[in-house]
């Protein structure tokens, strides 16, 4: 029927049942059609009949609750016919069930929910949020490696206490390097499996030591990073003690080497005391003015094992003409390697200025172009804000090399190049042209193994080709650089 109010359809159907939700959905869809003014598609329950009456669409005759009421008004007959047909079509429609959507885990806790042993969690979220994620792992009885830096020290302590209680290990925060049962985590090298376990509060220190052990044919069982602050007074070596105990109980580990910068005195004593109680022998490779040389620590360990010290891999440089009065310019990406270079060089050269100085009064601040003996750690937090670590992004260091060449200051360039997982896939690619352009006598500590994705020899050959002297040992590289300077003074 059609009149000035438009067209109107009211019908009751028997033997048609649809869920009320489905019917409300149909009503909404049909109501959204332009030509439709009002619509009610519903089972003819008393409530719905009342609603229909309120809309002026009450059916004639007696309606039963098991009947389907289709009631609608439209602008004209054509619209009405189309709308009724659309109701029929909508009622006949069957939705596809589809596949179950998997909802990705948003937190470490959710990610660990369905896992089986053994599992290690790795956290590299921004520092302020890292402890919250790491706490999930500990609560689930899993060890965790926290790569993030900027984790408040009180959170580090709370995490490590909880981990100790739970019988798991927190590696980090700011732990860049670990190897667990042959799996290299973060910045780590492909080293052969072997009997030496490392506990490392220093990432590049651990990389240097493990690479030398690999070169000596010895290899490592695990490298457990503990974070640079672990041996501070505040943290008290919580993770170091747990890592030592774990390696002591590990059948694959026969010797332990503890690699770190100088610990707080009280903590060093406590660690020594605990280490002496263990059945596994523990040796320290702690950098200090008294023991400035990681390579020497490795050599001593080889002596413990009865393994002959090999000739550490190297490539001769072509630095024939070192200008008189040349200064040392150490441009490092690894903090511990930079420290080692300064500790070895300071007795020979005297004061060395640095952004990570041996003494506060030698602080370089932000003046990377300072004259004189300088060692810069480009991996220091202040220089990595808003950019990737120099092991990945060499831009800043290449700029410094170019600036140094332009300054015409006579200098010997001492660099580290760290290979392995996480690092620049081909560091010589950008460094070789930079060295050629600079034309400075250059010495490179190339920390890596033949098994690394970049290949030690491949990188060494390329760098030597550019004139650099290349050493697998940072201590050897530093000494060679010092000898060049000594020659120039003579």
């Amino acid at each position: 029927m059609s009149d000035s109010q438009g067209a109107r359809h009211v019908s009751l159907r028997s033997g048609v049942y649809a869920d009320s939700v489905r019917l409300m959905q149909v009503s909404r869809d049909i109501g959204a059609r332009d030509g439709v003014r009002a619509v009610l598609v519903a089972m003819a329950t008393p409530l719905n009949l009342e609603l229909a009456a309120g809309m002026g669409l009450a059916p004639e005759g007696e309606a039963k609750p098991d009947q389907l009421l289709i009631a609608l008004t439209a602008t004209d007959d054509a619209e009405l016919t189309a709308a009724v047909a659309a109701v029929e079509a909508a009622l006949a429609h069957r939705e596809r069930s589809g596949d179950v959507q998997t909802i990705p885990a948003r937190t470490i806790g959710a990610g660990l929910a369905d896992t089986t042993d053994p599992v290690l969690a790795i956290i590299s979220v921004p520092g302020p949020y890292a402890a919250t994620e790491a706490a999930d792992a500990i609560a689930a009885g899993r060890s965790v490696l926290v790569f993030s830096d900027g984790v408040p020290v009180e959170q580090e302590i709370a995490l490590k206490r909880a981990a100790h209680e739970a019988g798991v290990l927190v590696m980090g925060p700011d732990c860049g390097t670990a190897i667990v049962s042959g799996v290299a985590l973060g910045f780590a090298n492909v080293v052969r499996p072997g009997p030496v376990g490392l506990v490392a509060a220093s990432g590049t220190g651990a990389q240097q030591v493990s690479c030398l052990l690999d070169a000596a044919g010895v290899g490592v069982s695990h490298v457990l990073g503990v974070g640079g602050r672990d041996l501070s007074e505040a943290v008290g070596g919580l993770a170091t003690l747990d890592a030592l105990a774990a390696l002591d109980a590990d059948p694959a580990t026969e010797r332990v080497l503890l690699v770190s910068k100088p610990p707080a005195a009280s903590v060093a004593a406590r660690v020594r005391e605990v280490a002496d109680q263990l059945s596994v022998p523990v040796r320290s490779a702690v950098l200090s003015p008294e023991s400035p040389d990681l390579t020497a620590a490795v050599e001593a360990l080889l002596g413990d094992l009865g393994v002959a010290v090999p000739e550490w891999p190297s490539r001769p440089g072509t630095a024939d003409a070192v200008p008189p009065g040349a200064v040392l310019k150490g441009f490092y990406s690894g903090g511990t390697l930079a420290d080692e270079a300064m500790l070895l060089a300071a007795p020979v050269l005297g004061d060395i200025r640095s952004n990570t100085p041996l003494r506060p009064e030698l602080d370089l601040g932000t003046d990377l172009r300072a004259r004189g003996h300088v060692v810069v750690d480009f991996g220091d937090d202040a220089l990595t804000v808003g950019r990737a670590h120099p092991m990945i992004d060499p831009t800043l260091r290449l700029e410094a090399i170019s600036n140094l060449a332009a300054s015409r200051e006579p200098a010997v360039l001492l660099l580290d190049v760290v290979l392995g997982y996480g690092a620049d896939p081909d560091p010589s690619l950008s460094l070789v042209p930079a060295l050629r352009a600079a034309g400075l006598p250059a010495v490179v500590a190339l920390v890596g193994t033949e098994g690394d994705p970049q290949g030690w020899s491949r990188q060494a050959d390329a760098l030597a080709e550019a004139g650099a002297a290349v050493f697998a040992s940072n201590a050897a590289a530093t000494r060679y650089a010092l000898s060049l300077i000594g020659d120039s003074d003579a």
Partner: protein, 471 residues
């Protein structure tokens, strides 16, 4: 001797990683098994507050205690009594849903229900004078939750209304809820006219006494929790869909109802009323959830939500670690489907204590059990499953008593963790009815809604503050 670090050193570990992808890539190159977490900055909460709670040594044990109490709680129907006999309320008090409320801040349906109950109790002769006495504060308003009571939609409960009386046989707790009036123009949806008054009077004079006699005559109290568990196997989710549950309750109660000494016309009317109301069970399910959540009240250090509730103006939550304190924010308006020619503009903001079902892990959290519900927002079956999947990441445990068949009979996601809500940025999913925003209208539709994030922000900050004070 156990293996050190849980076997970590014995074999190459698989990795679960959150953060920078480059490390995962390197791990995959080595052939290690890596699961990347879809980590993103938390939805809210300062990093300090999140870490304070994450590292609170009390939290794990406290949350374990809280969820164990929730899971252990049972629910049996022991009696049906008038509110004035069982609730500690004075003569001129009306209970309402949600957090505390004044007449001035009450929404249309809440005012309508308060007017209706004032008329029903005979505290005013007509609508105008009812509004006057309510506006003058002559009738005290108090949340149901303050009296171990819950009420759907407006939740308005007055002394003459008959109450389901439920007990937790495990913990000894008690909870109450009034009787469901049915659909459409009903008091809980804000309607108060003659039809509503007539029904309320019949419920007071016939339904209540018959149900009371029937329940008291049963040899064993009715196990209400067991019905809820069965509902999830039958296409109900226990909040917006209670069809199977209502029929099962009717089946359980019918023999006792029929045996009540009352005119057979009354018995028939009672059975017809129950049988005609798809939501009859809701008022049994809600106090069942209330018993479980109240059992977990007052566990210091726990970050679990014990109450989700709305009064039509504000949404309020409570947590196990912060006792009776409310954390409130402006209630959202549900999205969904509408009855007749009502539309979104007719809907009132979210209202009712019934979100206690979601706090208990059913309702929106068990959406996968009732895919029909997700169609309220044009969703599909996979959407229903995805909703429940997401809720697992907000909750502390799975309730083995409440299994969802399509999820492989996985227990329902139970015990909302304020910390997880903050970290995922996902808000709890609630299925709900919709009341008309104008007093007197009644129900206009049903749909889906979420709490305002503000409730959880405030709760997180308070929990962190309590944690600091305790450490």
């Amino acid at each position: 001797m156990p293996e050190p670090l849980g076997g970590l050193l014995a074999a190459p570990p698989t990795i679960v990683a959150a953060g920078v992808e480059v490390f995962s890539t390197a791990l995959r190159q080595q052939g290690a098994g890596v699961t990347d977490v879809d980590w993103r900055p938390p939805g809210f909460g300062s990093p300090e507050d999140l870490a304070q709670l994450a590292l609170d040594p009390r939290r794990a044990a406290a949350n374990r205690v809280a969820v164990e109490r929730v899971l252990a709680a049972g629910s049996v129907l022991v009696d049906v009594r008038p509110a004035r006999e069982v609730l500690d309320i004075g003569d001129r008090v009306l209970l309402h849903s949600g957090p505390p409320l004044t007449w001035e801040s009450a929404s249309g349906p809440m005012r309508g229900a308060l007017i209706g109950a004032t008329l029903f109790e005979g505290w005013a002769p007509d609508v105008e004078s009812a509004e006057r006495v309510l506006a003058a504060g002559e009738i005290a308003l108090d949340p149901c939750h303050h009296h171990r009571t819950v009420g759907p939609m407006a939740g308005v409960t007055s002394p003459s209304m008959w109450m389901w009386c439920l007990e937790d046989p495990a913990g000894g707790g008690q909870a109450w809820c009034n009787l469901n009036e049915g659909l459409g123009k009903v008091l809980r949806m804000g309607a108060f006219d003659e039809e509503v008054q007539t029904r309320l009077a019949w419920m007071r004079d016939v339904l209540g006494p018959v149900l009371s006699a029937a329940v008291r005559s049963r040899p064993e109290p009715l196990d209400v929790k067991a019905i809820l568990a069965q509902m999830l196997q039958m296409g109900d989710e226990g909040h917006n869909r209670n069809r199977a549950g209502s029929l099962m309750a009717l089946r359980e109660l019918s023999p006792s109802i029929v045996a009540v000494d009352a005119p057979s016309s009354d018995i028939a009317e009672v059975l017809r009323f129950i049988g005609g109301n798809e939501h009859f069970y809701l008022n049994l399910g809600m106090p069942t959830a209330k018993l479980a959540m109240d059992a977990a009240r007052g566990v210091p250090g726990s970050t679990m939500v014990t109450v989700l509730s709305r009064n039509g103006t504000e949404f309020g939550i409570q947590t196990a670690g912060t006792g009776d304190r409310w954390f409130t924010g402006p209630a959202n308006t549900p999205v969904g489907l509408f009855l007749g020619d009502y539309g979104p503009e007719d809907a009132n903001p979210d209202i009712g204590d019934s979100a206690i079902m979601e706090a208990y892990g059913v309702g929106g959290f068990s959406m996968a059990a009732a895919p029909a519900i997700v169609r309220f927002v044009g969703g599909s079956v996979p959407d229903a499953l995805a909703t429940t999947e997401r809720m697992y990441q907000l909750t502390l445990t799975e309730n083995p008593a409440m299994q969802i068949p399509i999820m492989g009979f996985r227990g329902s996601p139970t015990g909302i963790d304020v910390l997880k809500v903050a970290r995922t940025g996902w808000l709890p999913q609630i299925n709900t009815g919709m009341a008309g925003r104008v007093a007197g209208t009644g129900q206009v539709g049903a749909g889906l809604v979420q709490p305002p994030q503000q409730c959880f922000e405030l709760a997180l900050a308070a929990l962190a503050e309590e944690s600091r004070a305790a450490s």
